[in-house]
Every structure is written in C-alpha cells, then in structure tokens.
Symmetry: C2
Subunit: 417 residues, 2 copies
C-alpha cells in the first residue's frame, strides 16, 4: 500500500486534541501547524509530522503539493435538506416585500409547495436534482453531508427520498449521513380532518420508522418541534419511538420562539438540537449539562432577514458543544457555501475563527456521532481533507462569499471538481 | 465586421428603458425577456430581438450559446478600494471578540495599517496584488469596477496607487474607473502636530488634486466625511477644489452616524453619496430631490456585525436612485461576490430582485457617470454582459454565496476566467 503525503501547506489545521465535542471550545486554538505534512494510507491519516520525517518514514510515497494553501479537515455539514424538487426562489422576494409565512403559503409557497412537488417526482429525478447540489457543497469544502428526508410526508415518498440519498452515496465520494424527517410537518391532507394530525404521527411511528429501520435507510430520526408544527409531547412521542427502533435523534428546536425543544433534546439524549435562535436560558443550561450538540444555522436567519441570531457565545461560554451547518434547503437557506457560514459565525455570532472551524469539523462530526471517524487531521481518522487557497486560517471567513476551496479528499480520494 | 449573437438564454434581462438612474425604481421590472437574443458588433450591442430575426439581419454571425442561462448587463461595481497591500484578516476576529475600532488601531490595525503597508510597496507590487482580486470580482459578474486610491495619503503614494489602477486597466479587459481618495483619512504623521490636519488638507488641494488631474489619473474625487475623519466643512473644501479642477465627486457619507454627508453630496451635485447606513430623514429628502445616486454597501454592515442597514426602501420610495456595490476593501468588506450583495439587498434591505439588479447595473453605471455607456442591454450600449448559470433572474440572489457566473464580456470581449 503506497502512502500519500500532503506537503507544502502554509498551515495544517488539525482540529485534533482532546475531544472538544463534549465541552466548550472558547478561544481554543484549532491546532494550527505551520511546518507540518500529513501522511495518508489506505484512506486513513497515519501521521502528522514534518515533511522530512514523513519522507523518511514513507519512502516512495506519492506527494500532493498543497502549494502554500491551508489544509483543514473536510468540513462536516451536519444539517441539510438537500433532497427536494424545484427551487423556491420566488419566496425570497415575497418575504422582502413584507409577506409572512402564511401569505406565502396562501400563494402556493412554503414547505407544502416542496411536498406537493416532491411527491410528483420519481426517485431518479430526485437523484438527478440532488447530484449537482451535493457537488456544489463539496466544491466549497464539505466532505461529510447529512441529508434529511421530510418533503414526502407519506410512507412511499419518505422512503423514496431516503432511497435517493442511499443511491447518491454510491454516486458521489462524499460521506452522506441520511436522516429520516417524516415529522418535518403535518401534511396538508392530514390537517383536513380532525384526527388527521394524530393519524399522521401514528403513521410515522407504526409504519415509517419500522420501514426506515428495516431498510437501513437512516441513521437519525429528526423532528420539527415548534409552534404550528409538532408540540413538545408529539416530538417526544415520535423521537422515543425512533430511539426504541434503533435510530439516533436530532431535533429542530427553538428556531423562532422558545418552546422547550432544547430541553427535550437534552432529556432524550439526542445527538443534536438544531437552529436554537430562540433558545431560552433554561435550554442553554440543559444543553450545556448534556451530551447534545447545539447546531447553529446562521445562514438561515440571514436569508430570512431576521435580526436575531442564536446566542452562540452564551452556549459556548456555558459549556455546550456548538456545531455549524448550512441548513441547505429550498425555502430558507439555499447556500452551498459553508465557509460563508463561518463568516457569519465570526461576524454575527462572535465566535473566534478557531471556534468556528472546530464547530464545522470536529463538532459537526459529533453532531453526526462521527466524532471518532472524521473532522480531525490526526492519526486514525478518515483522510477527509479540504485544501483552501489562503495562507492563514483567518482568511477563510474573511474573504467572505468567495470560493477558496481548491480541492477536497474523502477517505483519501479526490472529491471536488 | 462580423456580428456575434448571444442566443438560447432562458432570460435576457435588459435593465433598459427610461433612465432609472434619476428616479425611484420601486418594483420596476428589470426588463425580463424570455425569447430574446442579443446582437453585438464592434463591441457594441446593436440589437435585441428574437434569434430568428437576428439571424436574418446578421447572416454569418458567430453565435454564443447561452445554454439556457440568464444573460444580464455586466454588473457595475461602483465602490471598491481594490488597491491595497496586505489583507487584514486578523481584525475580523478581534471585532468578534468585542474589540472596537480604537482597540484595533492600538494593536496596529485599522486603516493606518493599510497605509503603512502600502507606502512600503512598489507600484509593481500593487499591480500584482490587485490583479487576482479584480479577476475574482470579474468571476462573480462585474464588468465595470470603480477603484479608489486612499491608502497612500502622501503625494507620491496616492499617485502610485492611481498609476497602478491605470496599468491594471491595460492588463485586464475590465472597465476600471479610477477615483482619487486622498481624503480617505488624515495620516498619522499629520495628526502628530497641531496644524497637521490643515496642512494635509491643503496638500490634497494644492498638490495632489492638480497632479492627479494633470496626469489624467482619476475621473472622480472622493472624501470620507464622518466623525473622526473629515468634517462637513473640510469635505466641502476638498470636493469644491476637486470640482473646480475638473473631477466629478463622490462622498463616503453617514456610514455609522448621520453627519449631513448626504445633504452635502446633494448640495455639491456629487455623482454619488455612498454608505448611508445612518442617513437622516433630511438626507433622504436631499438625495431624493437631487441627481446624486445613493450607493449602498450592505456587505460592509454584515461583515462588521452591525444590526443597522441603510434605509434602502425609504430612499427608493422617496424617489432616490439607489445603487449597490461591494465596497471591496481589506478592512470592512473583503468580498468579490457581487451577487451576494444582491442577496443582502433583497433579504436585508427589502429590495425586489429587479430593483436589486437595476441597482447593480444601470444605477451603478449612473453612480459612475456611465449611464449611457454600460449597465443596459440595449442598442448603442457597450457589449458588457454577464451570463449566469440559472434559469430565472430570481435565482441570482437566491442561491446565496454560490458562484453562478459562467462568463462575462466587456466591449464584446470574453473576460472572466
């Protein structure tokens, strides 16, 4: 087996060290090495050391010239809704003109537009549509991407969405993590009669979850907990059933109003609680005392034109593990540009650059229960790497909106076009 | 002379029609044609019509296949500070950690860091550094870019900066518009003695402006008017001298606090007043009643982590002509991604998509006194074009942070790499 050496980087940012996923990362150095090279063998990182030393240890190794760029762990995008049909570009302008969620729904927009659209599409179509989107995410530095179902809201359409993710895993070198989100919303047809809501939740528990698990189609179950969608009790019921069936848990929580979602995530031992722009002080304390990662999605608030952002500093300073993600989806965050999310994390959420990168790598991995597999440049980890055309890590959030990612590797295999 | 036909665009967005530069553009349709082609000859647009008709009128014409993308006027970035030396990426994190402008200055940052750095560099060095930056701006869709001096603050260093812009004009197909901004700040050495401030302003008026005009090195003079920089009276004095010497006028005005800058711009007949996040109601009325374009820079407020944005709706609804620009500069807005500025214009400033595009094309051109030369797809205008990999104009701000520009042309010549 021939080793590959990644040499001549201006910085190798390891994000390694004691597991940060389980405690605050305030002002921690992300592990910036200025004279290091990385040895990869069999898809795994086997050593991080000086180039001269690695050349002695791995004679005959191939070399990748990092051309004075910055080498980081591949970014871990732990929250996306990349399986959808049409885009919903008309809604951004409607919102800008003052229309609210209900106005947009009345004009045929909102999540139910995505649901109607996805139901009409074949699995092949969903695969073909998601492929270039996931490639774009990769082009900006992501090597691991969580992808949720949730625009089907019937047994067949949820399974179709998850099968599409499974097929995309085979088509792309990206590491995809599938999440079942049948509880993204109560479908309109169920809202049309009194018992519909309970019937739909029962369908999730009794039919969808067993078939998802039986097919090995998801690692996580997720629920949209919030006013107008699922209540705390409904969320608990769905997630408890999912956990009993063997799925790990995620929760859309406290996005626009505090509803106890973060507390529920902590109580259930969920792997992550996501959004949290309106988390309460009690919710912050609950996450800080738990193993649940707080996943923040600042791009969503920007795109929606909201002033509010999640209290990232309070979460970190309180001791919670914070992850960042794009929330890539057709309604509220259509960006594939993960480094732009890092810009928002620094400029809007007041994270240090190291905190932001750790939130997008090791803590993102922890938000997918992959903290021991990816998100770090350290011996034993998967060789998931991103190379950026900058000389200092701080340039990554700085040149905002610009694509500086030059290449990525997943399990040592070149990925981005 | 062979014509070139741009065919097979899903939309041609002309931004043409009655000059919008001199009145509000509220909800105006940017001129979206779904079955149009564009004929170019000798670097000029000569016709916009159906492809079949143009093929009849221009037999033997070459064709550019727009592959179902959206063709717009090349974007006009009417406010950048692209001539600088080193980046200042460390300041973003300092700000995130709570340091203010003065703290950062004490640690060797801020504008004076750029001034010290630029003075040590050769003209060749400045050209070499700006070249890839301007190429990046072009890659995101800009075909006309205004570039200011203003990090020199001595006669020699201001002239060196403007000569660098002149050389860049010859090296790049981009249309560059040079602006003399000797009044960007009072240099530190002048602040060190009591009469220094007046001496420096006198140097601008008596030495810099005459030599800039003599060398044909700038079309505009600009002044940073605001607390801590130039007062209203100082700004008026510099701009009046510049106008008498034959330069057109711009003004950095009302960025963080209202100081009467917009009113001064209107009173002086300045071509544009820029920033305006803190413009007063009186300032809005003054601009609305004037020929001065209100140039808004929402990326700067985002990058600085400010909640406030310029009152774009009040300006447009009041009747002012609004332009958008990147403010590309090392301290407060290091983005080359003009379409991301359109995203902010819609999501943060509540412009319609057409308003945002008009602000980035025809109104940007008006902010450079080029409204009759570029910024429109109409017969007689320069063939400055941008082709985006989208099917509907509304996707341009929607896929935020993503680079969708496939190609640009300046005077009919392919530009972006």
């Amino acid at each position: 087996m021939t080793a590959t050496l990644f040499v001549n980087a201006s910085q190798v940012v390891t994000c390694s060290g004691p597991p940060r996923a389980r405690r605050g990362v305030e002002l921690l150095d992300a592990g910036i090495l200025t004279a290091a090279a990385v040895a990869v063998e069999g898809g795994r990182i086997v050593a991080v050391a000086g180039a001269a030393e690695l050349r002695r240890r791995f004679p005959g190794a191939e070399e990748v010239d990092c051309a004075h760029g910055v080498l980081t762990p591949g970014l871990v995008d732990s929250h996306t809704h990349a399986i959808f049909g049409k885009s919903r570009h008309e809604e951004q302008e409607m919102r800008a003109m003052g229309l609210d969620y209900m106005d947009i729904a009345r004009r045929g927009g909102g999540i139910h537009a995505s649901v109607r659209d996805l139901r009409d599409r074949s699995e092949d179509d969903l695969v073909a549509l998601a492929l270039p989107r996931l490639r774009r995410l990769a082009q900006y530095g992501a090597t691991t991407v969580e992808v949720k179902s949730g625009y089907g809201l019937t047994v067949d359409d949820e399974l179709k969405s998850l099968r599409a993710i499974q097929r995309l895993s085979l088509l792309l070198p990206l590491r995809l993590v599938p999440t079942f989100l049948g509880a993204h919303e109560i479908p309109q047809e169920a809202r049309a009669y009194p018992a519909g809501r309970a019937d739909y939740l029962s369908l999730i528990v009794k039919e969808m979850i067993p078939r998802v698990v039986e097919g090995g189609l998801a690692r996580f179950a997720d629920v949209f907990c919030g006013p107008g969608v699922l209540t705390i009790d409904e969320s608990r019921a769905v997630l408890t059933a999912a956990r009993e069936a063997g799925l790990r848990l995620k929760l859309h929580a406290d996005e626009l109003r505090p509803s106890g979602g973060a507390e529920l995530a902590a109580a259930l031992g969920a792997t992550s609680a996501d959004h949290l722009a309106a988390i309460s002080d009690n919710g912050i304390r609950a996450l800080a005392a738990s193993q649940t990662v707080a996943t923040l999605l600042p791009g969503t608030m920007l795109f929606l034109g909201k002033d509010r952002q999640a209290p990232a500093r309070a979460l970190i300073d309180g001791g919670a593990a914070v992850a960042l993600a794009t929330d890539f989806n057709p309604g509220t965050s259509p960006t594939p540009n993960f480094p732009l999310i890092l810009t928002l994390a620094v400029s809007q959420l007041h994270l240090s650059v190291s905190e932001a990168l750790l939130a997008a790598t090791v803590n993102g991995a922890a938000a997918l229960d992959l903290a021991h597999e990816t998100g770090q440049i350290a011996a034993g980890f998967s060789a998931d790497l991103a190379l950026f055309d900058i000389e200092d890590l701080r340039e990554l959030p700085y040149w905002y909106g610009d694509r500086r990612c030059r290449a990525t590797w997943v399990r040592g295999v070149p990925c981005a076009a």
